[in-house]
Each structure stands twice: as structure tokens, then as C-alpha cells.
């Protein structure tokens, strides 16, 4: 089986400081990988290198493109990479306002990716937007409201709909539940879990919340100071952590 994403020795430095280094892994179709670590561990830097938002200083990020198989997205030209960014890739930001157009209606936000790849039939675009709002549990009568009128949880669900409408194969998520109330988080996680299963999505989720990865991720990568210190099956890493840092991380979670 060809991996969907093949990451080889990715490194990113900020001057003398290490952003992340020596990161390699394969992500297979349908797999969900969590990247955990504390603030400054390099997990967001890594995610941005993978998603093409940052150019890594070394290494390759090969993506299994539909037409040409594995291609290094680091050396790929910008138009091609941006095309991936609005077709096969999706990026869910921690703050919905970074991933949404706040002055455009919910329907327009969802429809944008469709129009970006050439949809030119208003009725069909609107139907697709209505369908996706339903799938992320936003009432159809909110389709013409702007995201500014939405709660934080709704904005985040709208961002997800906007990203998934073109049927991407790989979703990058940066702290998708950060900043949300716990009850809102649970609903969002459950929704994401359902969508990931239903669409057979592959995903890379960066978070510092171990409960999020327990629920969503098949496998886990633990980062500290820019390095990967442990990888493995999610429940194995959380229940039988091998590295000192992972043990500390797991034992630091407050039990309810």
C-alpha cells in the first residue's frame, strides 16, 4: 500500500533555535495521527511545514497525488501546492476566524472552495452548502447569516464544513477544539470522529489535549523541544508510555 503522506527528515530552524528536526513518518489512507506536546514543542511548526504554510529547511513531504503518485510538496511549485490546498488538503485552524471569511455568509463560506475549483451553478453550490451545514449540525435557516453571528462552536463546525465540502483526502487540524467550552468540545469531537470515519479521511491533528487524541487518533507522535520522543498506537502510548516526557504528560492529566 502506498502511503498517502511520506514525511522524511523534516527540519525547520528559527535562527539557531530548533523549530522541529528529524521528523519522519508515513501516514496511510484512512489513518488519523495525533501530534501532542506542550507549547513550543514544535508541533505547530511541524504541521505548518507539512501543510505547506512554512518551508522546511530540510527534508521531504511526499503526497500521493491523484494523477502523478508521490510528489514532494516542498519542491512542488506554488500553484500546484495551492491547488492541493483547496482540493485534496484541508486545514482546520484553531481560531475559526483564521479559517473563515467573517464578512461572507455561511453558505458563501462553504461554497467558496467549490467555486474555487470551478463550480458555476448557483443552485448546485447552494444545495451542497445546505447539505454540509446539515452534516455539521448547523440549521439550514442560518445559511445566509454571517459567521460573526455564530457561537464559537458553530464557527468551528462551519470551518470544518467549508474544508470538507470538496472531499479532501488529508485534513490538517491545529488544536481544533482549543478555546471551546468542554461541552462544545465533546460535540465537535464526536462530529469530527463521525466525519473522519464516514469519509475515510486521513488526518493529522495537533493538540495538547490528550482526550482529543484518545478519541480521534489511531496513532500518536509525542514531541518535545522540536524532537519526536515517542510514537505508537494511541492507546498504547497513553496507557504504557515509554519515554520520560510522555509519562510526565500522561500522569499530569487531571482525573475527573
Amino acid at each position: 500500500m502506498t502511503p498517502l503522506l511520506q514525511v522524511e527528515n523534516i527540519a525547520k530552524f528559527y535562527g539557531a533555535r530548533v523549530g522541529c528536526t528529524d521528523v519522519s513518518f508515513d501516514l496511510f489512507p484512512g489513518e488519523v495521527m495525533g501530534i501532542v506536546g506542550e507549547s513550543g514543542s514544535g508541533k505547530s511548526t511541524l504541521l505548518n511545514c507539512l501543510a505547506g504554510h512554512l518551508t522546511p529547511d530540510a527534508g521531504a513531504v511526499r503526497f500521493d497525488t491523484r494523477t502523478e503518485g508521490l510528489r514532494d510538496t516542498v519542491t512542488m511549485n506554488e500553484p500546484e501546492r495551492r491547488m492541493l490546498g483547496r482540493t485534496d488538503w484541508a486545514f482546520v485552524h484553531q481560531h475559526a476566524r483564521d479559517g473563515l471569511r467573517m464578512n461572507v455568509s455561511a453558505g458563501g463560506n462553504v461554497g467558496e472552495r467549490l467555486m474555487a475549483v470551478g463550480a458555476r451553478h448557483y443552485g448546485q453550490i447552494r444545495d451542497a452548502a445546505t447539505d454540509w451545514l446539515g452534516r455539521v449540525e448547523i440549521a439550514a435557516d442560518r445559511i445566509d447569516d454571517r459567521p460573526t453571528a455564530f457561537s464559537g462552536g458553530m464557527q468551528q463546525r462551519l470551518q470544518i464544513a467549508r474544508n470538507l465540502v470538496t472531499g479532501p483526502r488529508l485534513v490538517f487540524m491545529d488544536e481544533p477544539t482549543g478555546g471551546l467550552d468542554v461541552s462544545v468540545q465533546a460535540r465537535l469531537l464526536d462530529l469530527l470522529r463521525g466525519l473522519v470515519r464516514e469519509m475515510g479521511l486521513s488526518a493529522i491533528i495537533v493538540t495538547h489535549d490528550l482526550a482529543v487524541v484518545r478519541l480521534l487518533a489511531d496513532r500518536l507522535m509525542v514531541m518535545k523541544d522540536g524532537h519526536v520522543v515517542e510514537t505508537g498506537l494511541t492507546d498504547q502510548v497513553l496507557d504504557d508510555p515509554q519515554h520520560a516526557y510522555t509519562q510526565l504528560l500522561v500522569s499530569s492529566v487531571l482525573q475527573v
Partner: protein
């Protein structure tokens, strides 16, 4: 079906002065299809640790755990996930609750994700829930709010929904009433009859005697502490 060879395990507590606690050494046994093996031994002998290692939840320090052609001790995460999906079932003592998903879907899920049609999967789920005496009015609700006993029965129904060739059972009859205990024991007998290889922990001696073909004392694998 299940082959364990020279398996060992220790825990290193990095944050407590690097203390190393050896918990298992030289474990070796086999379970054939249609066979049920009970793990015995005093509390702390390592029964649960062994079960968790078989399921890939705990990492083996050395040795092999071959289940259905996969060595769990060295397999990639996705190989273990595939094994858990289609070959190796685990009925733990606690239901890991998924918010908002109905009981019927919780039970049908192992069938759905192995490609069974929704109709057939739900029919099987209904049948199991009925046999385990979960009132039908609860089927549409999330088991989150159920009593401990109800949750355990939902968990058992889920564990037996798909016909796994290998099955791990952790105290499946604990705290069940006589009628439900009987249902669970007959489910185990049916699984054996269709050829499942089963490893179980049963504190209920009568249950163990009824379903297990033989027992293995986990204490035999406990490292001999010299000090």
C-alpha cells in the same frame, strides 16, 4: 491462533527515579481455535498486563505475540488496528463511552466497520441487546447515562457482535445477575463452537470451570524477585 513466545515486560518509571519494575518474564503459551484458556493467579500476578499486551495496549519488552499472522509485539500501529478490526476482539470491564452515539449503533459498529450491511448489523445488535436483557426503550439512547451493569452488558454485546477469530475477555461475568451471566456463558460457548480462540480472566470459578478448556497460572511468568 494465538502464540506467545518468551514474552517479557517491565515498567520503567522515569519520573520516580527511573525505577524499573519487571512484571513478566518468559511467558509462553498457545491457544488453538475453538479453545478457551483461563488466566489465573493472585491479584498482581500480571493477568491484566498480559491481556493488555495481547491486545497491543501495553508494549512488550521482548518476545513475540503472534495472533492471526501478526506479531503484536513488533507490529506497526496500523497492523494492530487492522488486527483489532477483523481478528482480535476485547471485552474489557468498562465501556469506553462515546458521547451521543446510540446503544444500537455502539453495538453494531464492529460489524459496520468490517463492511457488513447496516440492516444485518442492526439485526445482530438487536438480537444481542435483547438476549442480554437491555430494555428496548434504551436502544436509541447513548449508554453514557446507563447504570454500571447495563453498560457492562452493552459492552459485552458489542464485543460479541462481530465473530472475531480471537477474543480476549476480562471478567465478562463480573457483577452480572444469574440470568445475564448465563447468557454471557452461552455466548462464550457459541464463540468456541464457531472456532474462536479465547483467553479470559474469570474470578467466577464456576464460570471458569464451565467454559475454559484449561487454565494458565500467570504467576509462572512473574519474574522471581531475588531481593
Amino acid at each position: 491462533m494465538i502464540q506467545v513466545e518468551n514474552l517479557s515486560k517491565s515498567f520503567t518509571l522515569h519520573n520516580q527515579g527511573g525505577t524499573v519494575i519487571p512484571v513478566m518474564e518468559g511467558a509462553a503459551f498457545e491457544v488453538a481455535p475453538g479453545e478457551c484458556v483461563g488466566l489465573t493467579g493472585a491479584s498482581g500476578a500480571g493477568k491484566s498486563t498480559l491481556m493488555r499486551m495481547l491486545y497491543g495496549n501495553y508494549l512488550a519488552a521482548s518476545g513475540h505475540i503472534r495472533i492471526g499472522g501478526v506479531d503484536v509485539a513488533t507490529a506497526e500501529p496500523r497492523e494492530i488496528l487492522a488486527l483489532r478490526r477483523g481478528t482480535l476482539g476485547y471485552v474489557s470491564q468498562f465501556l469506553r463511552v462515546v458521547p451521543r452515539v446510540s446503544t444500537l449503533d455502539v453495538v453494531a459498529e464492529p460489524l459496520l466497520r468490517t463492511g457488513h450491511a447496516r440492516d444485518a448489523a442492526e439485526a445482530r445488535a438487536r438480537d444481542l441487546l435483547a438476549r442480554l436483557n437491555i430494555p428496548e426503550r434504551l436502544w436509541g439512547l447513548s449508554p453514557t447515562t446507563f447504570s454500571g451493569g447495563e453498560q457492562q452488558r452493552v459492552n459485552i454485546a458489542r464485543g460479541f457482535a462481530y465473530d472475531y477469530p480471537a477474543l480476549l475477555l476480562d471478567e465478562p461475568t463480573a457483577s452480572l445477575d444469574i440470568a445475564n451471566r448465563e447468557v454471557v456463558l452461552s455466548l462464550i460457548e457459541e464463540a468456541k463452537a464457531r472456532g474462536a480462540a479465547i483467553v479470559g480472566i474469570f474470578h467466577d470459578e464456576a464460570a471458569r470451570d464451565r467454559v475454559c478448556d484449561r487454565v494458565i497460572d500467570a504467576a509462572a511468568f512473574t519474574p522471581k524477585v531475588s531481593a
